[in-house]
């Protein structure tokens, strides 16, 4: 009874299913659009006003530019990191433990790999959009001066991929929702402060700086800053390579651990 299906058709059908999962997330997000778009717009705005404008006057030049200009690309890196992280920790946990959304999806033709891809693609899309919103907000304050800034959403996208995968790995091990504090405060907040987003890495003691060079956010910030200031150097290839390496390492791990948690 099994109809012979060509490999091409199989790939098309698989892509349609991945897209269907992505659309599910988009649909839920747009349903509460007003509440959902407040943080990505207002947070960078407050950041610019609170830190950029407020502190700039006292700081003089940071890394050769006005502090608000220095801060702008940092925010473009941070916003997608938080967005993807919350989606993949609290969001994934609620879908898994309370709403049983994944069980329902896996009862349809969607496979586990397709479901994971759809979810991570959505987190990445949202992260890209968030970084673009930061571009808009900072541009309005005259903090970006290069058309290269249009590359920011692509970096935002891969930032979303990395932190979505990382969050999923954490979620697959978390039994109690309060345990996310260890990850959020212990792993993400230090990246926010120390990975070059809010002050130059050179200020850090050597050991801490070495640790930061392993963290993905450091490399994301470097890329964002280069595109914002149209300042390109060979080191950027290394930054991009590290980001891709993180994705390559995290993906199979996220797949295996979340599958083990959901499928019994």
């Amino acid at each position: 009874m099994a109809e012979p299906t060509s490999p091409q058709t199989i790939h098309v059908r698989s892509a349609v299913r991945v897209l269907a999962v992505w659309k599910r997330f988009r649909r839920v997000y747009f349903k509460y659009l007003l509440a959902n778009i407040m943080p990505p717009i207002l947070e960078p705005l407050f950041f610019i006003l609170g830190l950029g404008v407020g502190l700039s006057a006292y700081l003089g030049l940071v890394d050769g530019v006005d502090y608000a200009v220095f801060l702008a690309p940092g925010m473009m890196a941070i916003s997608p990191m938080w967005s993807a992280s919350f989606e993949a920790t609290y969001g994934t946990y609620l879908r898994m433990e309370f709403e049983h959304i994944y069980d329902a999806i896996l009862a349809s033709p969607v496979s586990f790999g397709e479901m994971l891809l759809g979810e991570v693609l959505w987190s990445s899309t949202k992260a890209a959009a968030f970084s673009l919103v930061v571009v808009g907000v900072t541009s309005a304050f005259g903090l970006v001066h290069s058309w290269w800034v249009l590359m920011v959403p692509f970096v935002g996208f891969i930032t979303g991929t990395i932190y979505a995968l990382m969050g999923i790995i954490v979620t697959s091990k978390v039994r109690e929702i309060s345990n996310f504090n260890f990850y959020i405060t212990g792993v993400l907040t230090p990246q926010f402060y120390f990975c070059g987003a809010v002050f130059p890495l050179e200020q850090l003691p050597p050991l801490l700086r070495s640790i930061c060079y392993v963290m993905p956010l450091t490399h994301v910030v470097e890329l964002m800053r280069s595109f914002c200031q149209a300042d390109f150097h060979e080191g950027l290839l290394l930054n991009a390579a590290v980001c891709l390496l993180w994705v390559a390492v995290l993906w199979p791990l996220a797949h295996r651990l979340l599958k083990k948690r959901i499928v019994i």
């Binding site: 049983h100 033709p109 499928v263």
Partner: protein, 304 residues
């Protein structure tokens, strides 16, 4: 394998969790168009068996063919032909009734935009007409279950598998679910369901297996199973209403807790039951699957 008739064939199907064999080498087959029941207490291995059918859980041993395909290899294609209703309610709480159906249809590759008519038809089929715009939390438990079943039907599956479809529902809601399943069956859809309610199994199933501790104890049509193991009538009496000599009154019996179940072919035979003084007789009823289960395992179904 006769693929025209048997849509599921399981041979030596096994599922282990650590050292525990949840499903221990069972054989069964499901025929096209029938309602096949897996009856058993909690922990019998019913859900594990179901999950292997649609490749939610990988199996640890044995052979399994669903519509001629191995679910472990061609899960996508198998699930495309199945409608699956899981035990836990798992509707998308953030979406409305209509949106739930549209999103789920997307997983089957169906574009539901612009197919409003078909959707209304389905809602009507499930007695949910006019509810398309409702939030899930506004629906009663019975309505949510009907919507979950409906969601599994958006792609016109050839076989629907339901894990305890009426557990936790009030009697009226259960009857509505049964009515829906009968409508499905009259449309030629194969139905596989698990239950620990013997009345549900007796009402719906053409054929069933009784499972306990990972094994299939018996297989057959409900009436056939009852006829094979029991006489026609059961008299259910309270132990405290009987004289000490009840064990030797000559009737076949099973006892469980403070209940005694006498079994005989005719009403007259129960006249030998030795009641205490001033006691009216116990409850007389036809023998059912529950009695079969009690006889086979010494336990009642719902106790697990």
């Amino acid at each position: 394998m006769n693929s025209k008739q048997e849509v599921v064939v399981a041979r030596g199907l096994t599922k282990s969790f650590g050292n525990v064999k949840a499903v221990d080498g069972i054989d069964f087959e499901v025929r096209e168009g029938e309602c096949f029941g897996i009856l058993g207490p909690n922990g019998a291995g019913k859900t594990s068996t179901m999950r292997m059918l649609y490749d939610f859980s990988p199996r640890d041993g044995g052979e399994l063919k669903v519509f001629g395909m191995d679910p472990a290899r061609l899960g996508n294609q198998v699930r495309q032909l199945l409608g699956v209703v899981q035990q836990q309610d798992n509707l998308d709480q953030e979406l409305t009734v209509r949106e739930n159906l549209e999103v789920y249809a997307g997983y089957y590759g169906i574009d539901f935009h612009g197919l409003g008519g078909r959707l209304d038809e389905l809602l009507e089929f499930m007695e949910l007409e006019g509810r398309g715009g409702s939030q899930i939390r506004e629906l009663s438990g019975g309505m949510q279950r009907r919507l979950t079943i409906l969601r599994a039907l958006v792609h016109n599956p050839r076989m629907v598998i339901l894990d305890e479809p009426s557990t936790g529902l009030d009697p009226q809601a259960r009857h509505q679910i049964w009515a829906v399943l009968r409508k499905l069956m009259s449309g030629g859809v194969t139905v596989v369901l698990t239950t620990h309610y013997m009345d549900e199994a007796e009402r719906l199933c053409d054929r069933l297996v009784i499972m306990d501790k990972g094994h299939i104890l018996h297989e057959g049509a409900p009436r056939e199973l009852i006829a094979r193991h029991l006489k026609r009538l059961v008299l259910e009496a309270d132990l405290r209403d009987l004289q000490e000599s009840w064990t030797t009154c000559g009737l076949e019996y099973e006892s469980y807790g403070d209940r005694v179940f006498f079994n005989a072919e005719s009403e007259d035979a129960f006249s030998v039951v030795p009641y205490r003084e001033n006691v009216v007789m116990g409850v007389l009823r036809p023998a059912g699957l529950e009695d079969v289960f009690l006889k086979l395992t010494g336990r009642r179904l719902e106790d697990g």
